[in-house]
Amino acid sequence: MIVPDTVDQIFVLSKHWLLGYVPTALQPIVSAILSVAPVLVVFPLLFAITTVLERKGLGRIQNRYGPNRVGPYGFSQPIADGIKSLTKEDIVPRSADQVVHLLAPLLLVMAAFLAYAVLPIGRNMVLTNLNAGVLFFFAVGSMVELAVFMAGWSSRSKYSLLGAMRAVAQMISYEVPLVLASIVVIMASGSLSTVAIVNLQASYTSIWPHWFIFTPWGFTGFVLFMIAATAESNRSPFDLPEGESEIIAGYYIEYSGFKFALFFLGEYLGMFATSGLAITLFLGGWAAPFSFLTWIPSYIWFFAKLLALICVFIWIRGTLPRLRMDQLMGLAWKFMLPMTLLNIFTAGVWHFMPSGFTRWLVCTSLLIVPCLLLSRGLKQRKKLQIRTYRFAE
């Protein structure tokens, strides 16, 4: 089917077409710009959509309408928010550290955007096909914590600092399981390059795709990855740092105006990036779910899966209560970490065992039993501990 192929590669072809007009000297720079620009455009738009989607979704979950005043069914709400944030006065606390205060949101957004360089949106539609793509993703991902800390500390207020410290602690704790969960896929696929991983999953047996999610370690890996991802992006059950009921707005409390908007942009972009990675690792990236659906262009599949995950996030946000800080930490270090290690172990076992039902049985049991044990361990300590906060003294 030629038509789907050209449609599939429409963006790639158009880029090459456009490059033809560019003098050779500037060739590399222009090609870079051309490939980066669409990403910079598409994902903020997605951000706008998700804000509306989230507010309407939460409303629906909470049995109320979301924003419906602005534009049809409130879908132009983001435009209104955007205008609001642009027009709001940018108040900077006097004692704040001006430079760091300004840099924090920029760094956050930049880190988020950098993450997309590696995600294969469509077939042959990856900004840079790095050999150590996943590693790049996590390297860039780690900058986010620094940005959060800068924001929290530079605004010189107790609440922002406390929120920042909590956010950083949380993000660091969940980065470990995040990485370990992804390692399972890397181990299985044998390569760090996201493109290779997707290509590996692009094949089909009969109509079933070879996605990793359809393997016991793949599925647990996906679940753990998603839990860690939500924690990474400070959303839903893990949004303790900026929980309104806790410490108002957490580390971006002193921000207002456009910088406030940037923080939100950064946060959502971070969420899209981690879910994008989840898609590439576990859900086959731009691969169609079924062999007969491959005619639909690859990027469509990527964004469809992305929207699905966003809905899941919104769904989780609406339903799960907020975790307490020590429960959050305990979950990370006492449940997630062992499970991911175990998952890596089962992936190893899976790899060496001959395929077949026994392999399924063994692996699933290997995963289910410890999961139950570990989770019971968490439930035992029911009584509330007196939370003691103290500095290093």
Partner: protein
């Protein structure tokens, strides 16, 4: 001596110099991260992607945050009262300068300035993985052991004594 190299070098030097000279520790650490990112870029330019990304991951992600945490916990976050530099800063910097001079002299005089530039060695993560697993298996194990030991050690050292007398 491509322009890209110069930019990266300038970035690194600026970041590190600032890291060592700023008064506020937090600023130092942030500038340090900048410097280290510059260094990672240099690694990428040299073709060692894996090392560059690990560098960023380890230093920017972990060490910087750790340093910040340390600063936060030792209450030296605020603008420090005493002067930032130790009393005998002059002699220290003098020693550093002399060291640099000697190393520079050594470098410039020792190596033959071969103009030919060997081709960019293509290194893939697979090759690194293989090397790690085969030729450098033992060091890997040792590093693993060392990291766990360090982990436990750091925790024990930093942990407040259980029987803290009031």
């Amino acid at each position: 001596m491509t322009l890209f190299f110069l930019i990266a070098a300038a970035l690194t030097i600026a970041g590190t110099a600032a890291a060592m000279s700023l008064r506020n520790p937090i600023h130092c650490i942030l500038s340090l991260t900048l410097g280290l990112v510059g260094l990672a870029v240099l690694y990428l330019q040299l073709g060692a992607q894996f090392v560059g990304f690990t560098q960023v991951l380890v230093y920017v992600g972990a060490v910087a945050i750790l340093a910040v945490f340390a600063i936060m916990m030792t209450r030296s976050a605020g603008s420090p009262q005493q002067p930032a530099f130790s009393r005998s800063w002059l002699s220290g910097s003098a020693v550093a300068v002399v060291v640099f001079a000697v190393l520079a002299w050594a470098i410039s005089s020792a190596l033959p300035s071969t103009k030919i530039v060997p081709p960019q060695p293509a290194v893939s993560v697979n090759q690194i993985g293989d090397a790690l697993m085969h030729k450098f298996a033992l060091p890997l194990e040792i590093i693993g052991l060392l990291l766990t030991a360090a982990l436990i050690g750091a925790v024990i050292v930093a942990m407040p004594e259980r029987r803290e007398t009031p």
